[in-house]
Symmetry: C2
Subunit: 507 residues, 2 copies
């Protein structure tokens, strides 16, 4: 134990870190990654130690952003530093690595320690690795989901029932939420949708809707808007719903792993925390999406429904075609434009209308509206303009311009057309390739950057016909995107005859 | 890609990190933990990105210690930053997490990326977790060991054969290397021993021998001393032998996991890199050591021998009694004193003499000296004073005082005697408890801090008889150690009759 003079260091490391001088650290028996309790005038926090020989002098302690906020430290404050043991959850993480089933108590301890930032990156990664290596059974997954809910905020609605929708993701151009929410709300049901920003995609629903309105809402705004007009589309990251989820994703993302039970818990904990009682899930299936085949899709569907039942959400799932982008637009602004065009009754690709009304229809049926003919009812709400009216209302409540039309949405002014090098039919479309090109063009940060597909799977194209057009807000980024497009070649052109049998070479 | 002005930040984070302004990071499509290539005037390095809104301005890049050294960056240099993909080894780490066998190529890629600091803490931890969760077979372990050797320096001796010794550790007071090396060298065999400092123990062999001599030797010093006088005891951390090992331990330590095949590879890679051709392993077995039972000890022995055969080291193993400390001294200076006393022929505990001569004798037999009566030969070298003469030579070659005697070694001046509260027999001794008390007293940083056991297992003690004495260089630390000793009670006192049967309560 000792007292050290605070020296603030304005660095947002992922971990909650303090910097100690090497000599002081040795004196206290601390090494890199040791843990201490930092106290300043009554406020305490757990911190992870890094060692420096020059950044702080002996007698000083370097306090990074997170910790200085937790203990309200100012330069010159005398901070008490006491070495502490490791959090108990490390023993449970080791149990999971050894393939053992975790108790309810163990899971709660892990999630609490994650939420309170008591685990280092090394420990957090070991947790994610353990769940990926050995999985969790339904009982563990239920306890995980409940622990993730309990360690965050919740919305308590005064109106019921609460409907919700979620897509597992992985298919580009999936702007369906911008149609589903106004359709469902126009039917008189309440759907307070929270959405994410892009992590590895070209644009999350929050990025897309932000083109039209403010998505940074607090909990009481979400509640108020949903209860008053039935629908809202908010950015989930602005509210503290199941906050452990984002912290866990921080470790999953660099490893490119999605531990199965963590995915289930991640989705349903956020939905339960926003008050959902009914939920329709979209599970896109395709070789270039997250779910590669129908068998895996069916397993997800079964497990989402089973977990939903455990925690009190009635879940229905749709396995959808994920073989190519939905609609023709990929990227925040072009997707917002396509969604608005659909609501305005303009000519948009059938895939967008079919998928959106199918899923919206499932929600209408869950709500007891239009038994057995939900999709027709959803289409009626769309074609009658009622969904568009509701969308304008949502945009207005979220501080956007309710009179905006699809034509008025700004998209990237730098464009480049990628042409077919030979005639044939569009075969395989590589979703990942499309996403990478759109990101290279600047999305999701540059909202105007994106792709419009001029041809899709099965279309006949002539030599030099436009396959797709790249849009960007920035000329240099456009160049990078074009270079990448030539390299990745995301739309393959095939002759209509793929093989002939018997093949004379083998006979 | 872009150019940014370097701002040096003197922080020794474990990861190779740069700090970017949030705006610049978004522009480049980077997030926390993204990876970039940093180039300064021809020098390049891979770095991991952390984001700050205040620490660096837009246009600046914060360069931490490691990276500024790699690319020779000074404040104001223009650094080129290019986002790069993830290292290929991340795919292999995921394969291991999925329980798959890794190819030779995959293992090499992982170890190279670790050695080159291309993996973040999150990724490194996932590797360690994967090996812990799913293990490695002999083929993988061999490739791992070879990759760990190849990514570091090696000593090429002109004299042969090269003998070596290693203890798996976990038992306190294990100062046997200070007897084994001079005995073996006195017999005319060459034993260039590298040792570690304490990680979780009260003092590694390097910490202990540093009381008597300089242990920070470079590779050519180790070679020269061993070839000239037969023996040396050097700190392995000062040389670049299998450097991935220390980096991997950085992730194992906080998780308190020792993946089995990683332990095998860790030991034998260092031994092979120092040129060992013959190796005698000490595997202490006991409930409070690393190896809990004979069965596990035998498995280690078999696997060390099998792996040794694969990489060209003839390994022999001894399972030793690890139920209590070796000798009576625990802590750097008191252990150095006890070892010197043994070499001087003074009265020291039998356990130290027996264990040291048994293991030294195994090496003598490997060397073709004293077939079948190695232990007797070792005892003769000890009692004749030849081992002491050799020790003085080693101390002199390593810049210590060759005339020092055991009585002249400084030990902690602040002492406290822990008394028996009742009469009885010393039963179980908790090794971990002993180590924690010695560390609380200031070891290994304070070299004079330690414990002398006045009684050991099976000894009869009277009420108020001294059980053990705590030594410290620092009065406050002594107080903390005493408090801990009262709490942990590491020596239990039992009546000689433990149970009586039949127990009338159950009959």
């Amino acid at each position: 134990m000792g007292f050290y003079t605070a020296k603030k260091i304005d660095l947002e490391a992922g971990e909650y870190t303090i910097i100690m001088n090497k000599k002081d650290a040795q004196e206290l028996g601390l090494r890199s990654q040791s843990r201490v309790k930092v106290t300043n005038d009554g406020d305490s926090a757990t911190a992870i130690v890094e060692i420096s020989e020059t950044m702080v002098k002996s007698g000083e302690v370097g306090v990074l952003h997170h910790i200085s906020r937790c203990v309200a430290a100012h330069d010159g404050d005398e901070l008490k530093i006491v070495p502490t043991g490791k959090p108990g959850s490390i023993d449970h993480i080791r149990e999971k690595l050894e393939g053992r089933e975790l108790s309810e108590h163990a899971i709660k301890e892990i999630i609490t320690d994650i939420t309170e930032h008591r685990l280092s990156d090394i420990e957090l990664s070991a947790y994610v690795s353990g769940v990926y290596a050995h999985g969790m059974n339904l009982r563990e997954t239920k306890d995980l989901t409940l622990a993730m809910i309990e360690t965050g905020d919740r919305i308590e609605f005064d109106k019921h029932p609460v409907f919700d929708h979620h897509s597992v993701g992985g298919v580009p151009g999936n702007k369906i939420t911008l149609l589903i929410v106004p359709i469902v709300a126009a039917a008189g049901l309440m759907i307070p949708k929270t959405s994410s920003r892009a992590i590895s995609s070209a644009g999350g629903t929050a990025d897309i809707f932000e083109v039209l309105a403010d998505v940074t809402l607090n909990l009481s705004e979400i509640k108020k808007i949903a209860e008053e007009i039935g629908g809202t589309i908010a950015w989930g990251g602005a509210v503290n719903l199941a906050p452990s989820d984002d912290l866990i994703i921080r470790a999953e993302y660099p490893l490119r792993i999605d531990p199965y039970s963590q995915v289930l818990a991640s989705v349903l904990s956020k939905k339960k925390a926003t008050g959902a009682e009914y939920l329709v899930m979209d599970i896109p299936v395709g070789p270039h999406t997250k779910v590669h085949d129908l068998e895996k899709g069916r397993k997800y569907a079964r497990d989402f429904m089973a977990l939903g039942e455990e925690i009190g959400i009635k879940v229905r799932c749709a396995l959808s075609y994920g073989g190519q982008p939905i609609g023709e637009a990929v990227g925040p602004a072009v997707e917002a434009r396509e969604a608005m065009a659909a609501l305005e009754g303009k000519d948009v690709p059938n895939s967008l209308i079919e998928k959106s009304t199918e899923l919206a229809g499932m929600i209408l049926e869950q709500g007891g509206i239009a038994e057995g003919r939900g999709k027709e009812e959803a289409k009626k709400l769309l074609s009658s303009g009622k969904a568009l009216d509701k969308m304008k209302e949502i945009i207005q409540y979220q501080r956007g311009d309710p009179d905006i039309t699809s034509d008025e949405i700004d998209i990237g002014t730098h464009t480049y057309e990628i042409l077919a090098v030979e005639e044939g039919y569009v075969g395989e479309i590589n979703n990942h390739g499309i996403i990478e090109i759109v990101r290279a063009a600047g999305a999701p940060y540059h909202k105007g950057s994106g792709i419009i597909l001029n041809n899709k799977r099965g279309d006949k194209v002539e030599t030099d016909e436009v396959l797709f057009t790249i849009y960007s807000d920035n000329e240099k980024k456009l160049e990078e995107a074009v270079k990448l497009a030539r390299h990745l070649n995301p739309l393959s052109i095939e002759g209509m005859i793929l093989e002939k049998h018997p093949d004379y070479r083998t006979v």
